[in-house]
């Protein structure tokens, strides 16, 4: 919604700070006035931060969850990019696989939880599988779009120079669809994070999601909310990272020509 240049202008920063302060004050006052004592408030959350950050359950949980998300994302990017390239460049593969990819993309990933926990047990493997499932299809769909959009002339030139098709795929189609890969990763990161959290809710394996579940059930809402903040930071961080990488490595790709 904002570019980096906008963010740095001081006239833009002050209204945001005021609005942030207003939101926090409103939250504090409304919860204090109307809600039970255990409900999270900004001051309560700040007070909870020191002991949450030294809580081993939070630290190991945070590390395992975020590592699982990262690992799942890497697998999803590799698999999704490979399948996306093939689907985007081969009409046959497109016609044969499209309905599976669309079905996987449309299916709310959360419904696979009972199956995944049946197949992998109530373990970290179930979480990883959920993360991969949640993330992979958005990458495949985006990369296939990107591979389809590669200008025909590029392929013609490669063919004229008698380049084998797989080299054209790796050296021409892949770089040309890079913006789509990045857009896919951006979408996938959000879905992967959701996948990890719901998998932990469902299987009750230790992690950030389970930390939230456990603490909110025992009415430690302030503590639980610290974990929500970490998840939010990770989500925003992924977004910012992909935006930065797009600007840094794909400067020819104009922002605004947005791929969804």
């Amino acid at each position: 919604m904002s570019t980096a240049a906008e963010t740095r202008a001081p006239s833009e920063v002050l209204p945001r700070l005021y609005a942030g302060a207003a939101i926090l004050i409103l939250w504090q006052v409304v919860v204090r006035a109307f809600a039970p004592a255990y409900v999270a408030t900004p001051l309560g959350i700040v007070a909870a931060i020191p002991h949450v950050l030294t809580d081993p359950a939070f630290l190991t949980g945070g590390v395992t969850t975020l590592l699982a998300v990262a690992e799942g994302l890497v697998i999803a990017v590799l698999v999704g990019t490979a399948t996306g390239l093939v689907i985007g460049r081969s009409t046959l593969a497109d016609r044969a696989l499209r309905q599976y990819v669309n079905a996987g993309y449309t299916l709310p990933m959360i419904v696979v939880l009972p199956l995944v926990s049946l197949w992998f047990g109530y373990t970290g493997a179930a979480r990883l599988a959920t993360v991969v499932f949640a993330a992979v299809f958005s990458i495949t769909v985006n990369v296939a779009d990107g591979a389809r959009a590669v200008p025909h002339d590029y392929i013609e030139v490669a063919r004229a120079f008698r380049s084998p098709p797989w080299r054209a795929l790796i050296e021409i189609v892949l770089p040309a669809s890079a913006p789509y890969v990045f857009a896919g990763i951006r979408l996938a990161a959000g879905r992967a994070l959701i996948g990890a959290v719901v998998a932990e809710f469902f299987t009750a394996i230790p992690g950030l999601g389970y930390f939230i579940l456990y603490n909110s059930r025992t009415f430690h809402h302030n503590e639980a909310f610290v974990a929500v903040l970490l998840l939010a930071a990770f989500g925003v961080g992924c977004d910012a990272l992909v935006n930065w990488a797009t600007r840094r490595y794909l400067p020819w790709y104009r922002r605004g020509e947005h791929v969804e």
Binding site: R16, P108, P114
Partner: protein, 252 residues
């Protein structure tokens, strides 16, 4: 008969791969533990049973009620708020970071809080669907209304248009197609919200169908419910895309 050859070439790979997929499911299902996977035929039989007892219709309607109420609220709140933010620039500049943060946060993490604050029942589930759906609508509306050309507003002003007429004649028609892109994106998220609410709040609807089957180690029941949800998802997504395309016609 060129068109016929074209027709075969277009659809044969899809049909063949679907048949192969179904055959693979059937064969693998017959040779594995029933707790792991059951054959397609058994799944379809289970699906037929669910349809006959009327449970399928009942649970689907119960889920759809949550979906549509939550979705309607997201649209009613998201679209006007988005236009207001676009029209009042200082407000937008002050709030856009927070909207972006809320958009990037996995909102499922809020479900345990909603559970302990609002308990079981219809309202908390609607709230979950609303939270999942509102941000794509809001975000796309703001982006759309922001791209409104200042000339359009200036012309309206030059003709002494009132604020109300400006909204009715310029803002709303211009922004609606963008809002509808948000609606299309929100469908998928709202579906996830619906099932998440039915899993993690009190179990009702299609979520209950899956949960019960899974607790009884009724793999056929789990797969049957997943098929239903997939079909529901495909239908709702298709409707979302049709709505988007309908409004996209007057997009400039």
């Amino acid at each position: 008969m060129a068109w016929r050859r074209e027709f075969v070439a277009r659809h044969a790979p899809a049909v063949l791969s679907l048949v192969a997929g179904m055959a693979a499911w059937e064969i693998v299902g017959r040779h594995t533990d029933a707790a792991f996977l059951v054959p397609l035929s058994e799944t379809l039989e289970r699906l037929w049973q669910l349809a006959q007892t009327g449970e399928l219709t009942r649970q689907t309607l119960s889920s759809l009620a949550i979906f549509f109420v939550g979705f309607a609220l997201a649209l009613i709140v998201g679209a006007p708020t988005g236009m207001l933010l676009a029209r009042v620039a200082p407000l937008r500049r002050a709030l856009d970071v927070y909207i972006m943060i809320a958009y990037a946060t996995p909102l499922v993490a809020l479900i345990p809080f909603i559970l302990s604050l609002m308990g079981f029942g219809f309202a908390p589930k609607v709230l979950v669907v609303f939270l999942f759906a509102v941000f794509p609508v809001l975000y796309n509306t703001v982006e759309g209304a922001r791209s409104l050309k200042p000339e359009l507003v200036e012309v309206a002003r030059a003709f002494r248009s009132s604020e109300w007429a400006l909204w009715r004649e310029v803002m709303v028609p211009y922004t609606l197609p963008f809002t509808m892109t948000g609606v299309r994106q929100a469908v998928g998220r709202a579906l996830v919200g619906m099932i998440a609410a039915e899993f993690f709040l009190s179990s009702t609807g299609l979520g209950q169908l899956i949960m019960n089957a899974s607790q009884n180690f009724d793999t056929a029941g789990v797969l049957a419910a997943i098929i239903i949800i997939m079909i529901l998802g495909l239908v709702l997504m298709r409707i979302g895309r049709m709505v988007e395309q309908h409004f996209a016609r007057w997009r400039v």
